[in-house]
């Protein structure tokens, strides 16, 4: 909205074309696209079942799992946790920027979020390379089978997440940005549970 006010020989122009972000209504209504929430619930169920299966398999062979787990690079896993959560911050900031209409800043923040995702994959690649160099692969032990399957499945989600962030950089409606970043936060959320289960609990 443009308001012109004449006061004698002076004219002031006030631009209110960018409205302040409207607060979300509180209540039991999910924010964003409901289909994305369905996907998030389904993914959490799949990873939850996988982690419960991991706990069950470990109960059958605790000594074997402990020995195999000691070969993991727990520091790299911690660094990757920080990387992914930082990426999530930039994705959330991108949504806020889009909500106030700052499209250029939105694209920049989404790019930074995606780059952090690439860093996550690089660190994960080094971890896999170290495991394979140590002679461990999918068939080495039950622990390694589950480790590679669960973290590999999660890494595929990271790849898809980066692609989705790239898509919403182009088609940057607010709903698209919200939906794309929601997928990215789901990837965050899954790692927040996968990391302590596979790397730390022993």
């Amino acid at each position: 909205m443009v308001t012109k006010t004449s006061m004698g020989d002076r004219t002031s122009v006030t631009d209110f074309s960018v409205p302040p972000p409207a607060p979300h209504p509180r209540g039991d209504t999910l924010p964003g696209n409901p289909m994305m929430w369905l996907l998030i619930a389904a993914e959490l169920l799949v990873f939850g079942a996988a982690l419960l299966g991991y706990a069950g398999a470990r109960a059958l062979d605790p000594a074997g799992f402990a020995a195999a787990q000691d070969g993991l690079d727990r520091l790299a896993g911690t660094i990757n946790t920080a990387v992914l959560l930082t990426s999530g911050l930039f994705a959330a900031l991108a949504t806020e920027a889009r909500r106030v209409g700052e499209r250029g800043r939105t694209r920049l923040l989404l790019t930074v979020a995606a780059l952090f995702g690439v860093v996550f994959l690089v660190v994960k690649g080094f971890e896999y390379a170290a495991e394979i160099a140590a002679g461990n692969d999918l068939s080495t032990s039950t622990f390694h089978t589950l480790y590679f399957l669960i973290t590999g499945f999660h890494a595929i989600h990271v790849v898809f997440g980066i692609l989705i962030l790239g898509i919403v950089m182009i088609f940057d409606d607010l709903e698209h940005v919200e939906t794309g970043t929601a997928f990215w936060h789901m990837v965050d959320l899954i790692w927040v549970v996968v990391f302590p289960t596979l790397y730390l609990l022993r």
Partner: protein, 131 residues
Amino acid sequence: MHTETRRLILTWGLLMGLTLALAVSGDVVHPTRLGIAWLAVIGVVAVVKARLVLARYLRLEVAPGFLSGFTGALAVTVAVIVVSFAVIHQPLMRRPGPAAPPSSPPPSSPPPARRDDGFPTRIPVDLPPRL
């Protein structure tokens, strides 16, 4: 700085602090076994982090019912895993040592019987076949 931006950065700071707490409680630099109390700490910190991601990053704080539902489901999953680790627990300190010798000798070479002074009573000698 916008209020929401400040809140998100504060959330990120909390998540980083909790990640550091997780690294310390999980003793990421030593291959030691963890006590049951540390397993519980790891589980609780993981659930708190998940709730922060759900509430602030995914903005479920505007839907308290769904936030409680998602958090509860994750908490139950983590609790079952932690309890299974606590019930079937390894010794607290398991230091890596030299490789253990094979538990039983190969069947083709039985150990020679020993006398009281420690010398074998029968010394295997390769003799030519008796004609």
